[in-house]
């Protein structure tokens, strides 16, 4: 390896990874939310032969039923993203609530909450989610709630750790000695000091939500045809991969750009907040439990 090459790589890495992540996320979010209004054709109209090659009129060709790929891509993202956001907020807020309660109340409440979280985390979550979906049916609210439920115990663990550290601080002790109500202490003293893990969890969990929801939708347990959806598009069009890769390639690229971008953005954000934060040891994820699954290790700081 020659020197100039390594110089180029080094310069590329000096680009802030968070900036790259932000751009990726914005591209996907704009595609998903502005897309439905600018789609050139109806997402469900049959406009030509199946798996036609790209042409000026249909830039990415047509899909399995001869519908315009571009229009379906533009219309098929917002449901996945909205579901992912709702699932993330649901999971992180529930997890944070239980985690802070456990970390601040200690004793029996702590034990009860954390042992329950342990048991929930010992379940193979995706498999159980599939079980419930198989019984109740592929309802969008059900998928959203299940994904949120997958997040909650893992988030609770992170917040319990963060709360334990903040609760040992002098300013919290002082507030306690003044006899300030517990809910006030939690809201005014604890919560403002766990914003770093909050942001990191929201970011990472959003990426994981997209992975899960798009995956379930790919399996056929999400948005049902003929509605356009990135997950189900992949499934219905993969039989035509030999003829035309575009109806599969564009949705999977958008999903991957979203999850990669969100990870880069969160990684960088965590580092920034850690550097600026008042205490280095409230670092996010430093007590992320290994049992939380490999997806937690995404913030390994490989771009440091």
């Amino acid at each position: 390896m020659s020197r100039p090459l390594s110089g180029v790589v080094a310069r590329m890495l000096r680009l802030r990874s968070g900036g790259v992540g932000l751009v990726l996320v914005l591209v996907v979010v704009l595609t998903a939310f502005v897309g439905p209004f600018v789609a050139p054709h109806s997402s469900t109209a049959f406009v030509g032969m199946a798996f036609a090659h790209p042409s000026p009129r249909y830039p990415f060709g047509t899909d399995v039923l001869g519908r315009d790929t571009l229009s379906r891509v533009l219309s098929g993202g917002w449901r996945i993203l909205v579901m992912s956001m709702v699932a993330t907020v649901l999971g992180v807020s529930t997890g944070a609530m239980f985690g802070i309660t456990a970390g601040y109340s200690k004793g029996v409440t702590d034990d009860a909450i954390m042992r329950t979280a342990d048991v929930l985390m010992a379940f193979p979550q995706l498999i159980l989610a599939l079980l419930f979906i198989s019984l109740i049916g592929p309802k969008l609210w059900l998928v959203t709630v299940l994904v949120g439920a997958i997040h909650a115990p893992q988030v609770a663990r992170v917040f319990r750790g963060a709360t334990l550290r903040v609760a040992a601080e002098d300013f919290v002790r002082h507030a306690e000695s003044l006899g300030i109500a517990t809910w006030r202490i939690v809201l005014r003293e604890i919560l403002p000091n766990v914003t770093t893990p909050l942001m990191v969890e929201l970011g990472l969990r959003l990426a994981y939500s997209v992975t899960l929801i798009a995956g379930l939708s790919f399996l056929g347990f999400g948005v049902q045809p003929p509605t356009a959806d990135w997950g189900s598009m992949i499934n219905e069009n993969r039989i035509g991969l030999m003829a035309s890769p575009w109806p599969v390639l564009i949705p999977i690229l958008l999903i991957a750009l979203m999850t990669i971008g969100m990870n880069l953005l969160t990684d960088d954000l965590a580092r920034l907040m850690q550097g600026r934060g008042r205490r280095a040891d409230t670092a996010p994820l430093d007590d992320a439990p290994s049992a939380a699954g490999p997806e937690m290790m995404v913030t390994g700081g490989a771009l440091r």
């Binding site: 390896m1 090459l5 390594s6 790589v9 080094a10 890495l13 342990d118 048991v119 010992a122 379940f123 193979p124 979550q125 995706l126 498999i127 159980l128 599939l130 079980l131 419930f132 979906i133 198989s134 019984l135 109740i136 990426a207 997209v210 992975t211 798009a214 995956g215 790919f218 399996l219 056929g220 347990f221 992949i234 993969r238 991969l241 030999m242 890769p245 599969v248 390639l249 999977i252 999903i255 991957a256 999850t259 990669i260 969100m262 990870n263 880069l264 290994s290 049992a291 699954g293 490999p294 997806e295 290790m297 995404v298 390994g300 490989a302 771009l303």
Partner: protein, 320 residues
Amino acid sequence: MRRLIARRLLFGLLTLFLVSVVIFAATEILPGNAARAVLGRDATQAALTAMEKKLHLDRPLTTQYALWLGGVLTGNPGTSLVNGENVMAEVMPRVKNSLTLLVLAGVFGLPLSVLAGILAASRPGGVFDNGVSVTALGLAATPEFVVGLLTIIVFATSVFRWLPPVSLVAPGSSVFARPEILVLPVLTLVLVIFPYLFRMIRGSMVEILQSDYVEMARLKGVSSTRIIFVHALPNAVAPSIQVMALTFAYLAGGVVLVEYVFAYPGIGQSLVYAIFARDVPVIQFEVVLLSAFYVGLNILADVATVLVTPKLRAGAWQTP
């Protein structure tokens, strides 16, 4: 140490018991009578009653649960509602196929990640390290079914046409009858597990190579190959065992998607089809098996942690 491990095993068994209760309760409480599902809408009341008796649906729920659990434990989990075959005979070949995938992924994935981790750690910040680290970051953030589909697009359909895009196997024949169908699913699983193992090995190797005892060995004139493989690697691998076990446990879910991508005849693909067909006995049994795999590897990970951590080996650990 024994007590720690015993407690962990007990917790694992308790979890499995709870999983079995959840699976059974969920499938039984929800609407839809299994007897009607077998016989169809036009079944006569007499036939329904007979079938309910055969499926033990006339007994109380707890008895049904005991009968079902007993069946699962003795290798007789019932008959498929779809084709009336024995569930065990249906599922077992698929379990073998899935394990084949996982073992091959391990055989290729583990040495690859360890080697890449060592190379990266021997020159941290170098071209190789940066390149592989960025790749690993990207791979870790990419959903596994996307990785699988990309390998199909690149190696099977659109860029090159070297390999079959789907892993079709004639019923009753072994996956090894056409070994080429294994390549892409195994490659996908290797790419899925690589980032975690690579990063773990790289991280611990970097730390160890900066330690005093390695410095000492260097000053003594020990060759760098010997330092890496004899002095450093064993200490880097020990903490990684836990990550390895957890990564494979994670695949209990991941393999469902990857098998579905390749139409690979494993337990994951079978589970998805059983869910579409609402084949309750098959769903129950496969979920139990995947859960046992997941819980088992989680226990293994924790036991490994106890064994390689001197403080825990002495039994000074509090929370399970």
